[in-house]
């Protein structure tokens, strides 16, 4: 019994619109599992990832989780990417009292006793990014997003921030998550030329993100003057679309590959040795990586694989992650995380412009941004 593997379900799409990001997320989880197993597993038991491909389709995440619970008797899961996928999975994990660890930033307004959220809430990324852009580029904003709940809710928050600071919203445009065409983005660039925003605020997700940056480049805009500020664009996205398209644009995240800590450097070196020297890391990769370690720590300290015991151990649990020391909030199941803003450089990496000194308390139910979050001295510009 002791050396029997602890089997964990991995819901990562290998196909569909968010496949590229989810493959990176899966590698983060796989890498952590290899590290843990190389060090002797969890109390002597190795971890084993049982993966399914939900094809970026919400109903399939739910279906695969249910089948893994009923047929394979699994109780622990990593993954889901969009909020739609997580919302589909939520009733299943609650019904069977399973545990889902969700490694993606999202819009908040959710709590489930059966989910641990290790990605950013808007107070980690959207509010700092909005404030930074308003301070440094001006307050005329054009918003472009994919047509689903995360961009809607993020733009609602950003609009509030903008109004409170006396700015102007020049437009709020949504394009389909699937099948938005390059010419749709080109039309928005014509709008941008007319309206002359201070910056473009993007919540475009998935495959069509490349069209946005391509359309921007084709329009001949200068990122030093009017950059795209994005909550979604990561190193992995930039590598996929081509580093020249991303260069000069700005993004906010809890983690960038360029975070300069010994643990991060060591992690990346090990990761590349195992997965290939060409690999890059990103925010969801890192969240997926450290959440595996959180689960391992929780199982070890609970001394059991009972979901209730593991959840109990998870609350308040800390881990020295590549982004810095993180902690699971005991009350809302989200995670204390760092806040960072970076500008993409010619190598497809982010030069960090701002970072918080500490991990910030997650605030999933923040209806309106609090302006003093920015000036309260929790962060330092670099």
């Amino acid at each position: 019994m002791v050396d029997q593997a602890i089997r964990i379900g991995g819901l990562f799409s290998d196909t569909g619109v968010t496949a590229a990001a989810e493959r990176s997320t899966m590698r983060g989880a796989q890498f952590a599992i290899e590290q843990i197993n190389a060090a002797g597993g969890v109390g002597g038991r190795p971890l084993e990832l049982v993966t399914r491909n939900p094809d970026s389709t919400p109903a399939l995440y739910a279906m695969h989780i249910e089948s893994l619970i009923r047929e394979e008797n699994l109780r622990f899961f990593f993954g889901c990417y969009t909020s739609a996928a997580r919302k589909a999975a939520l009733p299943i994990v609650e019904r069977y009292d399973a545990l889902l660890m969700y490694p993606v930033y999202y819009e908040g307004f959710e709590y489930s006793r059966n989910i641990i959220y290790t990605g950013a809430t808007p107070n980690h990324n959207a509010v700092p990014l909005g404030n930074y852009m308003l301070d440094n580029f001006g307050n005329r904003v054009l918003m472009i997003g994919s047509e689903y709940v995360y961009p809607y809710e993020t733009n609602r928050l950003m609009s509030d921030l903008l109004y409170e600071r006396g700015g102007t919203k020049l437009g709020e445009y949504y394009l389909p998550l699937k099948n938005a065409r390059p010419e749709d983005f080109a039309k928005l660039m014509v709008k941008a030329r007319e309206l002359k925003p201070s910056f473009i605020f993007s919540t475009v997700v998935g495959e069509t993100m490349a069209h946005l940056y391509q359309a921007y480049a084709d329009a001949g805009f200068d990122p030093a003057v009017m950059p795209i500020a994005s909550l979604t664009t990561s190193e992995t996205d930039i590598k996929q679309m081509g580093v020249h398209l991303g260069a000069g644009h700005i993004s906010a995240a809890t983690y960038f590959q360029s975070v300069d800590t010994a643990i991060n450097r060591q992690c990346i070196a090990q990761y590349r040795a195992l997965f290939g020297q060409e690999q890059v890391t990103d925010r969801c990769w890192e969240a997926a990586y450290f959440q595996v370690h959180l689960l391992a720590k929780a199982i070890l300290s609970a001394g059991s694989t009972n979901v209730d015991d593991v959840l109990q151990a998870m609350r308040g649990l800390e881990f020295e992650a590549p982004q810095g020391r993180v902690r699971v909030d005991a009350h809302n199941h989200h995670t204390y995380l760092f806040s960072r803003i970076g500008r993409a450089n010619a190598q497809g990496q982010f030069d960090i412009l701002y970072e918080s000194q500490n991990a910030l308390k997650p605030d999933p139910y923040a209806i309106a941004p609090r302006l003093n979050d920015w000036s309260s001295g929790t962060g330092r510009p670099l």
């Binding site: 307004f109 959710e110 709590y111 489930s112 006793r113 809607y152 609602r156 609009s159 509030d160 709020e172 949504y174 009350h331 809302n332 999933p364 139910y365 923040a366 209806i367 309106a368």
Partner: protein, 210 residues
């Protein structure tokens, strides 16, 4: 209506209402059990000021914005008239039964959303927002109705005064109104005050003559 249209409307009328949710005080009147604890924890996650009281007090001593109240067959029998007062803060009932007697109680409590037991985290924020917005609208409506009733009464008096002038002095309706208004301007009083005085005087005069 598309989702985007809904969002635009929200910007204009009620987004301020949702933003307040963090500052409101909520009184949880619920036994100390799993549901009660889930309620309190979720309200705290949302960021409300939470106070707790059980059993249902005979009178309410504190000012709160919303009351979350366990409504069960047992709690129906307690004598708590303050729950039904028009001035009582809006109530969100927590119910485990859906039988007619409970539903009737919810109607009496004027509830516009409920939390079903077992309590989950999902739904509480929506119930709070809807309840606050509905009670705000109801209060505004009531104020509006009061104002209209007042205006109606004024119009009735002015009408009566005009009829008196028309009947006793043989004036046209326009002349009657002008006479009232001229008096009002000369005495620096509102027209309805003059009309009221005239109606009273006319009543007294008729009583004296009969």
């Amino acid at each position: 209506m598309t989702l985007r249209a809904a969002k635009k409307r929200q910007r204009n009328d009620s987004s301020a209402g949702i933003k307040d949710l963090r500052d409101i005080s909520v009184l949880v009147v619920h036994p100390d059990d799993d549901d009660g604890r889930n309620l309190i924890e979720q309200l705290q996650r949302i960021g409300c000021q939470v106070r707790v009281q059980w059993p249902i007090p005979e009178r309410l001593n504190t000012e709160v914005d919303v009351i979350v109240l366990a409504v069960s067959p047992e709690s129906l029998s307690t004598n708590t008239p303050w729950l039904l007062h028009a001035s009582t803060s809006p109530i969100i009932p927590v119910i485990a039964y859906e039988n007619p007697i409970i539903v009737e109680a919810l109607v009496q409590l004027n509830a516009c959303s409920v939390i079903p037991s077992p309590v989950r985290s999902f739904g509480l924020l929506t119930a709070l927002a809807l309840t606050l917005s509905q009670s705000r609208k109801a209060r505004e409506r009531e104020k509006h109705v009061k104002r209209l009733e007042g205006r109606m009464a004024v119009m009735r008096t002015v009408q009566q005064a005009k009829i008196i002038l028309i009947e006793t002095k043989g004036m046209s309706e326009i002349d009657a109104y002008n006479a009232l208004r001229d008096q009002a301007m000369a005495k620096r009083e509102p027209v309805e005050k003059i009309a009221e005085a005239l109606v009273k005087a006319h009543e007294l005069f008729q009583q004296a003559c009969s």
